[in-house]
């Protein structure tokens, strides 16, 4: 639908703008700094905080004007406003002054200090002198579980927390109670927050009411952390994250904006799952099994050279890749052992399923939707997969999709989509159709127009009946089951009525028939002139990437090993005991003389290694992974190379060099392996073409990982020496381990942290996009590997 732009006048200048957005959104998109609290681009407007006041003039002759809240103001042709009128300045300062009557002056000991939206808005408003001389109101705080710290005295009652938690994310156990100036945001009784999206409260809260308890354990101010752009490895949704580090340990994860994927938010697994990187169980040195004592011992470099030579040279080697390792690491292993000796490290059943899924995705008529596209769809069928468990952010996207009918309905009544409370009031329980066919209940069940909880065999049958109905073919198997037939009729009817239905399925239940049924429905809709898309949720963060490479399954490998052919086994970041039966795995370890494991944590597999090499986690390495959508995205190390911990591909590259088994394979830098990989797999060539390589410079500069206010560089090691050490180098990326570098808005793949003058909080994120909640500036991160069809 084409938008007819309107002309408005802000502070005497004319602008052509989109009338579908509210005035605050419009002003922010144009770069005006208008303070706000209760507004959030993803949550819409409710007009509670009164901070975003502007002056509106009736016409060119009106000199007096009147104060309006820009978040609640529609943008109409000829609108004349002032963002800096003296009355506005007085009013905004007054709003801050009244909020400060109860807000404690505890910024120095507050975790939010230095990245606090309230601090920023206070400075922006100009309020600085305190006239209130009475006592402040105080509250009791609640224990909200291991992740979120609660400090209610700091609350400024913007209502964003409950609007995110309940309205946006569907949570039930956080609510507002009380009234007047005793409003309380918490649970009815103390206890861990139940929502899988509770961590977003940390970023949604404009001040220090909800803060990151895991950060508190090893607290560091925002400006003292080193950051790197990264991709969440907890599932296959491909959410973009920012990793914060100090003194060699990861301190926290924040959401990194990707307008096509996770937007402003993350699930709790993604946000808090980082703690393992700091685990005492980490493998730090090169370990070799002492045959006498049968224990793994750290070994010197010289010792390593000899054991690795004897394990590799002249030996029959097989390599096991991993769906949680990067494309580059998997490729390095594949190249070292040879394509015919490379195995994917997943069992035969999953391997087979992934091949089927890829066939579906490669089909020219199929479109794999981004999370944003799922949010915009007008009908959703979930077939045999619980996204709330396998990829929670996809479930959150479905929750937003369920609102589309109500937003359209509101538009008919003249209510704009941003008028959040009014849209929800009008909609009541009206939702876009969401059908959920899963073996068990899901946390999305409250959205379902129809639920079908049955074994996957039934779900596959339901799917095939639906596609038969759409294709007007008489279903073969449903004749006897009337209720299944009725359900299928209803779902097929709705999908056919929808404009852009989405089918969500996945590999969760290992049922190929479900996958095929979902594909058949998509194909049938396509034949019938619809624009369907199919989201296949893969089990792990790089399952799809690995599946797109050559190689066999773990079951194939077991056969080869049992035939007694393999002498040395190299296992890349993979705990085989989680992939296959214990007896089987035990038997292959017995068969292979040399087991080389590259991993970051001790687990049942790495404990069996004869040679154990310390791999870097996502925080200590750089790599590319492919999300379920088919989006290739790169994560960058936040920790400089330290000791023996290295990217897995570097360990492999070193092995090749030491042993001299191949003269052709030589990768010095990350760019080298990417080049070698994409030459070998042209399907992935876009990764090399689009994601900036290490030579990339922005305005002749690297992009800084450290904030411009990074204060600790000279002080950090002052107990040892006051001289300033040279910052570590990074030949693998265009990012610097330093505060030196480009300070503006870099390409979206390379955004380390969000900051803009006057915007120290996460709200600075909005300065990094075309418009709030729009695309990241210069396009959203990542490259789409499958041809995009709409």
């Amino acid at each position: 639908m084409e938008v007819i732009m309107v002309k408005i006048q802000i502070d005497g200048t004319f602008y052509e703008v989109n009338p579908d957005k509210n005035l605050l959104h419009t002003c922010l998109a144009l770069g005006f700094d208008i303070p706000y609290f209760c507004f959030h681009p993803a949550l819409g407007s409710v007009g509670a905080c009164r901070m975003c006041a502007v002056k509106k003039f009736a016409n060119a002759d009106d000199k007096k004007g009147r104060i309006v809240m820009s978040c609640m103001e529609p943008v109409t042709d000829g609108l004349i406003i002032s963002t800096s009128d003296p009355d506005i300045k007085v009013f905004r300062a007054a709003v801050i002054e009244s909020l400060m009557t109860n807000h404690p002056h505890d910024c120095p000991i507050c975790d939010e200090g230095g990245e606090c939206h309230l601090q920023d808005m206070t400075v922006m408003s100009g309020h600085n002198y305190r006239r209130f001389v009475f006592k402040k109101r105080t509250y009791s705080n609640q224990y909200l579980g291991p992740f979120i710290h609660h400090e209610m005295n700091r609350c400024i009652q913007c209502y964003r927390c409950v609007r995110f938690y309940r309205d946006y994310a569907g949570g039930r156990d956080l609510a507002v109670s009380g009234s007047a100036n005793h409003v309380y945001f918490g649970r009815q009784t103390e206890g861990a927050l139940e929502s899988e999206f509770s961590g977003n409260l940390i970023e949604v809260c404009p001040t220090g009411v909800f803060t990151d308890k895991t950060l508190k354990e090893h607290y560091t101010r925002k400006w003292d952390m080193t950051y790197a752009p990264s991709i969440c490895i907890q599932c296959s949704a491909g959410c973009n994250i920012t990793v914060g580090e100090r003194y060699g340990s990861v301190r926290r994860i924040l959401s990194r904006y990707n307008g096509a994927v996770n937007g402003y938010f993350l699930c709790d697994r993604g946000r808090f799952g980082y703690l393992s990187t700091n685990s005492p169980e980490r493998i730090k040195g090169i370990m070799v099994r002492d045959p006498q004592e049968n224990i793994q011992k750290e070994i010197s470099r010289d010792g390593y050279l000899s054991v690795i030579n004897s394990a590799i040279i002249g030996k029959k080697i097989a390599g096991i890749g991993s769906p949680v390792a990067s494309l580059e690491a998997n490729f390095a292993l594949e190249a070292m052992v040879g394509r015919e000796n490379f195995y994917h490290g997943i069992d035969g059943e999953k391997f087979d399923l992934e091949r089927t899924a890829i066939q579906i995705l490669k089909n020219s008529s199929v479109h794999s939707p981004s999370l944003k596209e799922i949010e915009r769809s007008d009908a959703v069928l979930i077939l045999g997969e619980d996204p709330a468990i396998s990829a929670p952010m996809i479930a959150l996207a479905v929750r937003q999709a369920s609102r589309n009918r109500s937003i359209r309905m509101a538009a008919k009544s003249g209510i704009p989509s941003w008028n959040d409370a009014a849209v929800r009031e009008l909609a009541q329980k009206i939702k876009s159709p969401v059908f959920i066919a899963t073996p068990l209940t899901t946390s999305l069940d409250d959205l379902a127009e129809l639920r079908y909880n049955s074994p996957t065999s039934d779900i596959a049958r339901l799917g095939s009946v639906i596609s038969s109905i759409i294709d007007k073919i008489e279903p073969l198997s449903a004749g006897s089951d009337k209720s299944l037939n009725d359900i299928a009729q209803r779902i097929a009817g709705v999908l056919m009525d929808a404009e852009n239905p989405v089918i969500i399925t996945g590999l969760q239940h290992n049922d190929k028939k479900v996958l095929q049924a979902a594909a058949n429905i998509t194909a049938a809709l396509h034949h019938n002139g619809k624009k369907p898309s199919i989201s296949i949720i893969f089990p792990e963060c790089n399952s799809l990437g690995l599946a797109l490479m050559e190689g066999g399954s773990l079951d194939n490998l077991f056969e080869v090993i049992l035939q007694g052919d393999v002498e040395t086994l190299i296992i890349l970041e993979n705990d085989l005991y989680k992939r296959a039966d214990k007896k089987k795995v035990d038997s292959i370890f017995k068969k292979c003389k040399n087991v080389i494991v590259l991993d970051s944590l001790l687990n049942e597999t790495s404990k069996q290694a004869d040679i154990l090499l310390p791999s870097g986690t996502f925080a200590e390495s750089t790599g590319t992974i492919v999300s379920s959508e088919g989006r290739g995205q790169r994560y960058y190390r936040v920790l400089p190379v330290n000791g023996h911990i290295k990217d897995s591909w570097k360990h492999i590259s070193e092995m090749i060099e030491i042993t001299g088994i191949s003269k052709d394979l030589h990768w010095e830098h990350f760019d080298d392996i990417v080049a070698s990989f994409t030459d070998s797999y042209p399907f992935f060539s876009k990764i090399r073409e689009i994601i900036p390589g290490s030579e990339f410079r922005f305005f002749n500069e690297k992009i800084a990982r450290q904030t411009i206010r990074f204060s600790g560089r000279t002080a950090m090691n002052a107990n040892d020496s006051v001289s300033e050490p040279k910052p570590p180098g990074d030949d693998d990326s265009p990012l610097s381990f330093s505060m030196e570098g480009y300070k503006g808005v870099p390409p979206s793949d390379l955004v380390s942290y969000y900051w803009s003058p006057g915007w120290n909080s996460v709200q600075a994120t909005n300065k990094y996009m075309d418009e709030p909640y729009g695309s990241a500036k210069g396009g959203n991160p990542g490259v789409l590997l499958f041809d995009h069809k709409t």
Binding site: C49, R50, S98, N102, S179, N181, S413, A421
Partner: protein, 424 residues
């Protein structure tokens, strides 16, 4: 002088039952409306009568009904809500009508519902009106038995159910959109307008919310016409009005008088003037969220336009008289304390501003106020001006304060100079 609204109300007697009410001609307007008139005829008639909302805002009732669209959203119902949440301090006019003649309200509600096409109607009643609740429940039951409510009313095919809901007791729920939220079981917080309740009201459906006194007029207007209604008034605004007076007057009470009766006549002729030894210092004309008026304004005609012209608002038309032996600061403090407590807590100026004002006024009363505090109070009257807050609650609270600061500034200063309340 005609007193249509209160003619059958005898405060010392039980309200008329349905038989008595019918004998006196009650429900004849209702029968005429739903049997002989189309909804648009009714809306046109009410609009031409000039009946305006008696809850305090004075919005034309017929216009409000015309804003309700023909169709409900989806498969829902349209709704009529009688706002009987009379929590305005000093106001007790609706109570008089509810307890004195419940069928008059029901008769009006049936017509109003029919006019807007509502199939469900609610009476949202102040929590404390227990007696009224019992009386209305009985009247509703009688109306069902008599065929005025339920399915196929009087054989016309029109269906209507009326329910009564007793509020949990929050002042803000008298605000029509907070009322609707409360009625839905949500937090009693006002909604943004637009959309107005006519478009998206109760349960997101087209809804008209009318004050009790307004609804009590409808059957009379149907029966006797718009001209008759207009001629009851002394000014351009039709009808009679329930006026009340409280404070240190000889005969506090409530009277139905022609719209536009002067304040002087109401206070001196009907309420008997000030008690011996007390002088009139000021008058809050219509519930506490209206500006003070003073003695020189006593000849103001008590209708919406005249009181507005005098710098205040008619509001509910129930006056509170301030005398010279009551501290005006304490008087205002008491009101602000009420408003601060009854804020819903949604928007910043109201939630944070009113408690600050309350604390400053308390400091005047305990003798610790400073000269700067007057400035801070005046600042707040600007800060919480209409448009700056989410709803009219805080601006209403500022009305007696801003006019109090204007008329009684000397008394404020005396508190500071003498370091205690001069009235204590």
């Amino acid at each position: 002088m005609e007193t249509p609204l209160t003619q059958y109300i005898k405060p010392d007697r039980l309200p008329p039952g349905i038989e008595d009410y019918k004998k006196a001609g009650g429900y004849s307007g209702t029968i005429k409306a739903i049997k002989e008139m189309s909804p648009s005829d009714i809306k046109t008639l009410v609009k031409s009568s000039g009946l305006s909302g008696r809850g305090g805002a004075g919005f034309p009732t017929g216009v409000k009904w015309e804003l309700v669209p023909v169709d409900a959203n989806g498969n829902g119902y349209k709704y009529l809500v009688a706002n009987a949440d009379e929590m305005e301090p000093g106001t007790f006019k609706d109570r008089y009508l509810l307890e004195g003649n419940p069928h008059q309200l029901l008769a009006g509600m049936i017509i109003a519902s029919y006019a807007i096409g509502a199939q469900k109607a609610y009476i949202f009643l102040r929590w404390a009106y227990k007696k009224a609740e019992a009386i209305i429940r009985k009247a509703i039951a009688e109306a069902y038995d008599a065929g005025y409510l339920g399915n196929n009313i009087l054989g016309t095919g029109y269906d209507l159910d009326i329910y009564i809901h007793s509020s949990a007791g929050r002042y803000i729920c008298g605000e029509e959109t907070a009322l609707l939220n409360s009625l839905e079981g949500k937090r009693g917080i006002p909604r943004t307008k637009p959309p107005f309740p006519a478009i998206s009201g109760l349960f997101g459906q087209p809804t008209a919310v009318n004050n009790v006194e307004t609804l009590c007029w409808i059957s009379h207007i149907i029966e006797k016409g718009a001209d008759w209604f207009r001629k009851l008034s002394l000014t351009g605004e039709g009808g009679t009005k329930l006026y009340g007076v409280s404070g240190r007057v000889r005969n506090p009470g409530l009277w139905e008088l022609p719209m536009g009766t002067t304040m002087r006549e109401i206070i001196y002729d009907h309420a008997g003037g000030m008690l011996e030894g007390y002088k009139l210092k000021g008058v809050i004309p219509g519930g506490v969220s209206t500006d003070f008026m003073i003695e020189s304004q006593l000849d103001t005609k008590m209708d919406f336009a005249s009181v507005r012209a005098a710098g205040s608002r008619l509001g509910t038309g129930t006056m509170i008289v301030l005398d010279d032996k009551t501290c005006p600061v304490a008087f205002i403090h008491s009101m602000i304390k009420f408003f601060a407590q009854e804020s819903c807590g949604w928007c910043t100026p109201c939630r944070e501003g009113l408690p600050w004002v309350e604390k400053i006024l308390a400091s005047f009363e305990n003798g610790t106020a400073k000269y700067d505090d007057i400035e801070i109070l005046e600042f707040h009257t600007q800060y919480m001006a209409p448009g700056n807050t989410f709803c009219a609650h805080a601006p209403g609270a500022m009305e007696p304060l801003q006019s109090g600061l204007r008329y009684f500034r000397e008394e404020f200063v005396r508190h500071i100079n003498e370091k205690h309340c001069p009235w204590r």
